[in-house]
Amino acid sequence: MNKLPLLFVGILLVFSTSWIGLVAYPYLKLGRLAPEASRDGLVPPPLTASAIGGERVYAANGCIYCHSQQVRPAWLSTDIEKGWGPRQTVARDYIRESPPFLGTMRTGPDLTNIDVRRPDRVWHYQHLYEPGTVTPGSIMPSFRFLFKVQPIKDRPSFEAVAVHGPHAPPRGYEVVPTQDARDLVAYLLSLKHNYPLPEAGDPPAADAGK
């Protein structure tokens, strides 16, 4: 192997096979998927402006390092039995996400369908402010920096978050979410992938709920 041009071409040619297969191919085949029409409108539904802001907060604070957003199929794993979702997630589930947070760790629960399990906005605020108060034993860090602790003016703010226990604000003060916290919760509440998709195979159990 003393011929430089041959070595050069060989090195690039061999590598280009994986570029074609793992980059160009999905780009061409999955890079322009359209949402699917369903009885309840398009699925996956578009994100609200607030949820798009929340996506950025989710990324900035690295939620992905503990929370996955993917449900593996039943032939491979117990994800569905475990309650992470009614069916495996497929490419079309992620077309609204930029970037999609597939994740590689489950130090925390999978969030693909967190809105199905936790539709309560207040719970999310309390949980983000101090996870231990609503989930004893949680090792999620507190995201207090997404909230303001401010003195109560004439009357409590309409969106003041009730925090009890040792982390409660001092008397006369209240905890209110910042815009980042509102956006993040809006994003979490948009995570709901229990609609049917033809390529996903398994029709969800709550399919004909109405």
């Binding site: 569905i80 309560d120 229990n194 029709p203």
Partner: protein, 242 residues
């Protein structure tokens, strides 16, 4: 940058080492004592390695042939024609278990024990089993509209909110009630779909969750005698049945 093939003059080196700097007697010992630049021997590739390689290539080809879903972009399952995670949703036992794992497990836990002080247990719960003043109608009502405020379960006090699950079909509600009444050592008769349908009709106007006190004010009712059900052993782990 020059692209001539001839060896460059010392001046053209980006930073030419000054010849007078390099004095053989001043070259550091680490350079003087080192061996020549490495060379290569010409031993041949062992036969056993070639054999293993061939076997691996064969295995790889077979794997790709069998587990590539026909090499289609929309095929998310390696076995062509095999549905993603399909289970037979007509079987009430499986359906109930599935509804539970999708909707209930996060609070009440897969063990049915809940979280002490936060989420009430279902295992051994008087509400689930229909003990004392609590009837089947109360359990169905909680599931349809939710339950809010203080409640005692198994001697412990809880103060939390459970959302209503009226989005579930009657079959699903019946199935999941059936599941929680037979799992974790619970033994209570199943609640038929017709009973759920009837209760849903009666409480259709109500949107707010119940409180424990409100429920106690309602007289106990039992579902009509259940249709015979096979006492199914729940599979611990579902296998793809193909």
């Amino acid at each position: 940058m020059s692209s001539e093939r001839t060896p460059p003059e010392p001046e053209s080196f980006g930073d030419p080492p000054q010849p007078e700097e390099i004095d053989l007697s001043k070259i550091h010992g680490s350079i003087l004592r080192e061996h020549d630049e490495p060379a290569e021997g010409r031993e041949s590739v062992p036969l056993w390695l070639v054999t293993i390689m061939m076997a691996l290539v064969f295995w790889g080809g077979m794997y790709l042939a069998f587990y590539s879903g026909g090499f289609r972009a929309e095929s998310f399952n390696p076995r062509r024609g095999m549905a993603g995670g399909a289970v037979d949703s007509n079987d009430p036992a499986t359906l109930g278990r599935r509804v539970f794992t999708q909707n209930c497990v996060l609070c009440h836990q897969a063990t049915g024990l809940g979280v002490p002080g936060v989420y009430p247990p279902l295992a051994g719960s008087e509400w689930v089993l229909g003990r004392d003043w609590r009837g089947d109608n109360h359990l169905v009502a909680i599931l349809l509209n939710g339950l809010q405020g203080p409640v005692r379960v198994g001697g412990a006090a809880f103060d939390n909110a459970m959302p209503g699950w009226s989005i579930l079909r009657d079959e699903e509600i019946a199935a999941v009630l059936n599941y929680i009444r037979t799992a974790w050592g619970n033994t209570a008769p199943p609640i038929p779909v017709e009973f759920v349908r009837q209760r849903r009709g009666l409480t259709a106007a109500r949107a707010a969750p119940w409180s424990a006190g409100e429920l106690q004010a309602i007289a106990r009712e039992s579902a009509p005698a259940p249709a015979p059900q096979p006492a199914d052993e729940l599979p611990f782990r579902r296998k793809a049945a193909r």
